[in-house]
């Protein structure tokens, strides 16, 4: 069969990923992760409403090393989805579509979301070791 000269749609295994496409799928992945993360919010709020004992066991579970790793993941997912979501809102009003701007905003999303995660956890640890 003669090879078509028309452009092919990206074949994921051999297509070199760009920043823009990676951030796009990461936005979706973090969105799904955050929906799963809402179950932690439900559990935490119910535990708080149930009383000190239930809250203490929820805190123990979420504060264990595994709980902290999972919460670190959820917090980064939240900050990433938040920052990239703002990037999407600018696109929605027609701003920032130039290739250079799209890459600059993409890099900014990565930098700011990492920075916010570090700041949030640093503050939480500083609060804990305080009074």
């Amino acid at each position: 069969m003669e090879k078509s000269q028309r452009p092919l749609s990206p074949h994921l295994q051999i297509y070199r990923p760009q920043l823009t496409s990676v951030l796009s799928i990461t936005h979706r992945i973090t969105g799904v992760a955050l929906v799963i993360g809402t179950l932690v919010l439900v559990y935490w709020l119910l535990a708080a409403a149930s009383g000190p004992e239930a809250y203490a066991s929820a805190q123990a579970l979420l504060g264990s090393w595994l709980g902290r790793v999972v919460m670190l993941g959820f917090s980064y997912a939240l900050f990433f989805h938040l920052c990239n979501g703002i990037r999407h809102l600018f696109w929605d009003v027609g701003l920032g579509f130039e290739l250079k701007t799209a890459y600059a905003s993409g890099n900014a999303v990565i930098a700011v979301s990492i920075a916010l995660t570090v700041i949030a956890w640093a503050l939480a640890y500083a609060m804990r070791s305080g009074p």
């Binding site: 979706r28 809402t38 439900v42 979501g85």
Partner: protein, 126 residues
């Protein structure tokens, strides 16, 4: 030739009869969640490291309780809109797609009610 009536075209609601409603609500909840989620995470940084009494006192504040309720509604509304798109994109069996979206919608309403109940029971509790 366009077979649609001028009124149908003017309403712009398309074949799904909902027009840009899904898109618009996703953006509206996104805009609401920018300040709400930043406020919530900033609060959690303080609250989560303290004891049960601190959480209860925190949620006794009317402003905190109201913002928490707004956050809960916005989170689950936004989440189910996003998940619906994901399911529509990746679930190719028509029946499974329909069932999963119905379960998603009902579960998100149930979880919203559960979270609101928890917040309000603390806010109005002794």
């Amino acid at each position: 030739m366009n077979l649609r009536t001028p009124l149908a075209r003017a309403r712009g609601l398309g074949s799904a009869k909902s027009g840009t409603h899904h898109w618009w609500m996703q953006r509206l909840t996104a805009v609401a969640l920018v300040p709400l989620s930043l406020w919530f995470v900033a609060s959690l940084v303080v609250v989560v490291t303290a004891d049960h009494e601190t959480v209860i006192l925190w949620l006794h504040s009317p402003l905190v309780a109201i913002l928490c309720c707004a956050l809960i509604v916005a989170i689950f509304y936004h989440g189910q809109l996003g998940m619906q798109v994901v399911l529509e994109d990746y679930v190719h069996t028509e029946t499974l797609k329909l069932v999963s979206i119905v379960v998603l919608k009902l579960a998100s309403v149930l979880l919203t009610a559960t979270c609101l109940f928890a917040v309000l029971s603390i806010a109005f509790g002794g």
